[in-house]
Amino acid sequence: MISIHLTQALGHAGDPGIAERLHNLSHRGCVDYLHVDTTDINRRRQRLTSEQGVDCMITLPRDQLLSNGAVLELADDRAVVIRISEQQWLKLRPRDCAAALELGYLAGNLHWREKFQDEILAVALQGPEVAYLERLHFFLNDGRAERAPV
């Protein structure tokens, strides 16, 4: 297996200049992709195997983060582009204000990452959904909250 060090984000796949080079490399099958889980995008150092089987050791400076489409290598014979898996959300609709307060307290107490969308509390899943549902079963069973469509 080939091993390479990737030490910085050179730009984005959509950037002028980079996009054209990627297009040309893609005709020769030389654009390789690294799939990164959403829970790992803040890691500056990690080791992943690319789609084409290249062992990639990533060591980014502290002021850089991985992003979807980030280009970590752009050479004459190979480009490496980051693909980040889509964040999965668990959306919850509390029954009333009292339930919303309780639900917000629970989510904070469990250190869940969440965002608010009008009356919906959306929880960013950082593990199996069933583990989140286990913590919510009292809310869901007695109707204080219900799952909202994703």
């Binding site: 060090h5 150092r45 080791r47 502290r62």
Partner: protein, 211 residues
């Protein structure tokens, strides 16, 4: 890049070491230092304690590491807050060590003793270990605390005590595998050094590239 192929521009790697009070985090660091040094790494350490500097002072007294390469953070509150919710104090300590010792290759950041729910922010560390004590009960892994489930490497320490308290190490590893989705687990005995090379092998493969 250095002659050994090591990337230096990104500064030192940061590795978190968390786990409950008394699980052996400081003892693990005492064991890791000589093995990491043998492999050519320069080390610095940040310790976290609630209201004392005990862990830092313990390391400074060992003679394993220059005392000025160890900085203590006193969290003053729940230790997990300083490694997850607001890791500013620890980031500043790590940056200070990196500035003072620019050839440092790895900074070990020991959390204050906490419960099974503590996890590290990836803004602070690149990789983190969670240390549990085999004698605290062989049901710990299957209880699925976030520290058990999310850590990059689970260390089951004090394996020598397991037979004395009826703890089944095989069961701990098996149930740990099940809840961790195959992420690595290492058994250690910091009193004898058993398992330490394995821990360092994982660190070198996963985050300390080139060593």
């Amino acid at each position: 890049m250095t002659e050994t192929g090591v990337i230096t521009g990104a500064g030192p790697a940061r590795i978190g070491i968390g786990g409950p009070v008394g699980s052996g985090k400081t003892a693990l660091i005492e064991n890791l230092i000589p093995v990491l040094e043998e492999r050519g790494l320069e080390i610095a350490v940040v310790t976290n304690d609630l209201v004392t500097k005990e862990d830092a002072e313990r390391l400074q007294r060992t003679g394993l590491i220059s005392p000025d390469r160890v900085i203590a953070v006193e969290t003053g509150a729940c230790p997990h807050t300083a490694i997850r919710e607001d890791p500013t104090m620890n980031i500043q300590a790590a940056e200070r060590l990196a500035d003072l010792f620019p050839h440092t290759s790895v900074i070990l950041i020991e959390s204050g003793g906490d419960n099974l729910a503590s996890t590290f922010s990836l803004d602070l560390v690149d990789y983190w270990l969670f240390v549990i004590d085999a004698a605290d009960g062989d049901d710990i892994p299957r209880k699925r605390g976030p520290g058990i489930v999310r850590s990059d490497l689970l260390v089951i320490n004090k394996t020598d005590l397991a037979p004395h308290v009826g703890a089944d190490l095989g069961r701990m590893v098996q149930e740990g595998d099940e809840v961790r989705g195959g992420k690595p687990i290492v058994l250690t005995n910091c009193a004898t050094g058993d398992g330490i090379e394995q821990v360092v092998d994982h660190l070198c493969h996963d985050v300390l590239f080139g060593y």
